[in-house]
């Protein structure tokens, strides 16, 4: 019961903090939308090009936008020692990491479900595969959240070069991008197979992320 109370307390706290700092989150979406607009201006009105590379543009910008959310994972709580307080209350670092991932997914990834259709409209992509786009994003966004969480916790170990965290996201996201982008253009028989591969990635990352993050947090505390 005590652990349950602690989990609820942490979830409510994270919701309140993210809600209060919604302007930070809005800037992430603004970055995404401005990126789309810049692509539209730079490529012009060629519909065929957008049909071919549009999904790739969206995924690339989602990835870059996620880089902006790295600090939201552990850095602030690590700096003011709140993370120690959560742990002393009886929550393992794995549980803390899982809660952070869920909250970040809700605040950072979920709004993309509203913004992606807008991006599709701006890029003038054919909308017959909308459900596939959403499905791939649903799975892909979970994977990216896991990767961002790993990257955020690794950043605690290195307070000199923050760019390394972004590089980790970029490198680990390559398979997600390959399978998510190609989903739109493959034949119907291959869609299920590719979705299964993406699901496999998702479960793999969901299984390993809390442990990796917990190990990184413990290591970072050791040298703080």
């Amino acid at each position: 019961m005590h652990t349950f109370n602690s989990i609820i307390a942490l979830i409510i706290r994270e919701f309140k903090i993210n809600y209060r700092n919604f302007s930070d989150i809005l800037s992430i979406f603004l970055f995404f939308l401005l990126g789309i607009v810049i692509f539209v201006f730079s490529i012009g009105e060629n519909k065929e090009i957008f049909n071919e590379i549009g999904i790739g543009i969206i995924w690339t910008l989602i990835l870059l936008s996620n880089n902006l959310s790295l600090r939201k994972f552990y850095q602030d709580d690590f700096n003011d020692n709140s993370i120690i307080l959560f742990h002393i209350s009886g929550l393992s670092y794995e549980i803390i990491s899982l809660i952070k991932m869920i909250i970040i997914w809700i605040f950072i990834q979920l709004p993309f479900f509203i913004i992606i259709p807008l991006a599709v409209l701006l890029l003038n992509i054919e909308t017959s595969n909308f459900h596939i786009i959403f499905l791939s994003f649903l799975i892909g966004s979970t994977i990216i959240t896991c990767i961002a969480s790993i990257s955020g916790s690794m950043n605690l170990l290195n307070n000199k070069n923050f760019a390394i965290g972004s590089l980790i996201i970029m490198i680990l996201s390559i398979p997600v991008i390959i399978f998510s982008v190609s989903l739109i253009n493959v034949s119907d028989e291959l869609i299920k197979a590719q979705l299964n591969i993406l699901l496999g990635f998702m479960f793999f990352f969901l299984a390993i992320t809390p442990w990796i993050c917990a190990a990184c947090i413990k290591l970072a505390l050791q040298s703080k």
Binding site: A9, I12, R13, I84, L85, H87, I88
Partner: protein, 207 residues
């Protein structure tokens, strides 16, 4: 009872804690002293199992804290050198979070009287961001009363406090040990508390 047995800790090829031992039982208060960089904060983090010790043993009521960390966590409050209250939340919201996080049995009336004592009651709805350092520190110290644990571990609790608040902290610490609690704290300031035991952190400190 907390028993620390010959602990060692080395970081970046520097021996920070070298063979330190102590025992802390009910009605006892230990003041940890030492020069800057002597390893006072590190020592507190080791005895609270936040940093893993490299050599030695620590027991709480006969159980090794390394093997039973969550059993130990239920029994102490750790006031760290930094304030854990979140700047985006109000005093009320931070207290509400701590109460839920530690399943505190303190009711609203008791919380109000704590805040009244700390002269923070009128700031209940104020964001932490707008508080002074001293006010933030007092709020942090209110966790001692909210959590109701037996062992209090405090890292520089007097930092930023005015004389009235210092007296209040001293009175609270005395009251706690009178009721069977135990306290270990670090400070460069020597508080006016009777029967306090001093442990100077240097090589081979024992108490």
């Amino acid at each position: 009872m907390l028993l620390v047995n010959n602990i060692y800790f080395k970081r970046n090829n520097r021996q920070i804690i070298n063979n330190v031992s102590l025992s802390l039982s009910a009605h006892k208060i230990i003041h940890l002293t030492g020069n800057n960089g002597a390893g006072k904060t590190t020592f507190l983090k080791i005895i609270t199992n936040i940093i893993e010790l490299q050599k030695g043993e620590i027991y709480w009521n006969g159980k090794n804290i390394n093997k039973h960390p969550f059993y130990f966590y239920k029994n102490f409050t750790f006031i760290m050198d930094q304030n854990t209250s979140n700047n985006s939340l109000t005093i009320d919201e931070n207290i509400c979070f701590w109460r839920r996080l530690f399943s505190s049995k303190r009711n609203n009336k008791e919380i109000d009287s704590i805040l009244e004592l700390l002269s923070l009651n009128h700031l209940k709805k104020t964001l932490i961001n707008y508080l002074s350092y001293g006010e933030k520190r007092k709020l942090e110290l209110s966790r001692l009363i909210i959590e109701q644990k037996k062992l209090w571990v405090l890292d520089e609790p007097y930092n930023g406090l005015d004389q009235i608040s210092i007296n209040l902290v001293n009175h609270t610490l005395l009251n706690h040990i009178k009721l069977g609690g135990m306290v270990i704290f670090t400070s460069h300031f020597s508080p006016d508390i009777p029967n306090i035991e001093n442990l100077h952190l240097d090589n081979h400190a024992h108490l």
